[in-house]
Assembly symmetry: C2
Homo-oligomer: 156 residues x 2
């Protein structure tokens, strides 16, 4: 059995746990909690992952590392497509995002997708934050199980 199922099962249970304990009005708060959890995991992961790395050339180089090394570690695959407008917006597309693969592809299930995307959004934000890049990360599902993560760099 593949190792990553433990992570997957644990993630599912956390989503479920945080979701269950939130009332309807608090659903958004639940999403924030998952995002915050992902943020801290992302911070820890990138710290370990870059321990013996040389410094990144530029922002794009950092993004490539995320798409390849971080994604591979967590989801056992690379991001399928990376795009940028060269003005601080990056779009990472995963054509078979692991947390969505198990779900039915019907449109009605897309509604529950956000709760499975909060953790990875936070994880990306946490990883980049530890590399000195402040950003806003959002996710969008157009056709299950494909998913786009949009990273908007916040210049100060």
């Amino acid at each position: 059995m593949a190792d990553e199922v433990i992570f997957e099962f644990l993630h599912m249970e956390i989503v479920d746990h945080i979701h269950k304990e939130s009332s309807n009005e608090e659903k958004e708060q639940g999403i924030s909690k998952l995002e915050a959890l992902g943020f801290r995991v992302g911070q820890s992961l990138i710290e370990r992952l870059t321990k013996e790395c040389s410094r990144f050339k530029d922002e794009l180089d950092t993004m490539k590392f995320l798409c390849k090394d971080l994604w591979n570690l967590v989801y056992k695959k690379q991001i399928d497509n990376l795009r940028t407008n060269h003005q601080g917006v990056y779009v990472l597309q995963d054509n078979r995002f692991k947390f969505l693969v198990q779900m039915s592809t019907g449109k009605q299930y897309m509604e529950s997708a956000p709760k499975y995307l909060a953790f990875p959004c936070g994880m990306i934000r946490g990883a980049l934050s530890n590399l000195g890049i402040n950003c806003i990360v959002t996710a969008e599902v157009s056709a299950m199980p494909a998913c786009k993560f949009q990273i908007q760099i916040q210049r100060s």
Copy 2:
């Protein structure tokens, strides 16, 4: 970097999350929540793990599977010692339990050990429950990072 760190980081963050949101009186409730989370993860894991397994010979055979296969999957090592009184009590000893290895060995840290042991206790209980064995699982730390899990079978 080893794969299991993701699971480890995620587990640490959950413990932290559940602990932080519980007031002092609710600390025990927090422990129950972690145990329940572990229970469901244990159920899912054992289901996958035994999919292509032949039936276990007896209770002891089941325990051996837990000590070897389940522990290896989750903690990348086997249980170091398995004992039983042949009357429904099993003691599983892990001499270097992963969730405790990172902690300092001072006596004052042993107080915070229980919150790291709730998930694995639940996981054992969930795994056995799915194999038709009802039990109570408790954990005890005598000298960090060694840990004993006691399984008490509940005959009905």
